[in-house]
């Protein structure tokens, strides 16, 4: 039988995923604290000053990870929302719902840190540039997804409407990513590309990657905690939630 004998779908059911998620949160939280400590140390004490931008470039160590997260989380959210409709798995839809606020937060932070980096470098907090505008649209997509789901009482219809919006809006992700190539923009090109050697110092790259990993594990912990709330809310009338509450009191 081998691998086939393990029921992989077991963890796609909310009542088995709920305790699993609960066991993963402390580990992810611990790793986040360690990675943040290493990442911040590298960002401020190891990475050298930039020969063009002086110290201002240190905003990059949170700006780039936040911007990456804003796009990754949207894609993961859209895939979960789509799976929820195609496979009819409730947990996938709940994951999509739980991802949206964190994605919106990182989108806002990418815009905020970008504005504070733009002012000293470009002389303006904001320009209607292709990269900045498409990232602002991403923020509106997240807000639209959350408001749409909040406005519909029936969870199944809320999931369906949200999935439609998330999937249609996914077209914006390649637009954000390639905007710096497709249009003449003020925004600099990709910090890391797959086809050429990185143009920045190794310590700068290390700081950025460690901060990115820290944001990933942070997202994992906070989204799992939120999806546990979603599960409890939507399954509140089930026997397993009743048993769980009894065992707690």
């Amino acid at each position: 039988m081998g691998l086939g004998s393990i029921n992989w779908l077991k963890y796609s059911s909310p009542n088995t995923f709920y305790p699993l998620a609960g066991r993963m949160i402390p580990g992810l939280a611990g790793i986040t604290v360690i990675l943040l400590a290493i990442g911040l140390y590298l960002s401020f004490f190891v990475a050298p000053s930039d020969y063009q931008q002086g110290e201002a470039y240190r905003i990059m160590f949170i700006h780039v990870p936040a911007a990456w997260m804003s796009m990754f989380i949207y894609l993961v959210m859209a895939v979960y929302a789509g799976l929820g409709q195609v496979m009819n798995t409730r947990l996938s839809s709940m994951m999509a719902t739980a991802l949206a606020p964190t994605g919106a937060m990182f989108t806002f932070l990418a815009l905020w840190t970008g504005a504070l980096w733009g002012k000293p470098m470009w002389g303006a907090y904001w320009v209607w540039d292709a990269r900045l505008t498409s990232e602002l649209i991403l923020l509106f997509l997240y807000i639209g997804f959350m408001s749409l789901q909040a406005a519909i009482d029936d969870p199944r219809r809320a999931s369906r409407a949200g999935a439609l919006l998330a999937l249609v809006g996914a077209i914006n992700i390649p637009i954000i990513y390639f905007s710096v190539q497709w249009w003449n923009t003020l925004h600099q090109g990709a910090s890391i590309s797959f086809d050429e050697a990185p143009s920045m110092a190794a310590t700068m790259l290390a700081a950025m990657l460690v901060m990115t990993l820290a944001f990933w594990t942070y997202t994992g912990a906070v989204v799992l905690a939120r999806v546990r709330c979603e599960i409890l809310e939507r399954e509140r009338n089930s026997d397993w939630v009743a048993k769980l509450l009894e065992s707690r009191s």
Binding site: E55, I59, M105, L109
Partner: protein, 57 residues
Amino acid sequence: MMGDFFSMGGYGFYIWGSYLVTAVFMMVELVLVMRRRRTLLQRLGRMLRSNVNRGQS
């Protein structure tokens, strides 16, 4: 020495404005999720007890 660190070569406002707001947002998000869990468990606990009292359990 410390002053140098905080002034960040004149970019202190922009750098600390970025890092501080990021830290505040991430911590507030954590607090909101933990508070949501706490109030939810309290509410569901009350709901369960009232059902037991009415003999629906």
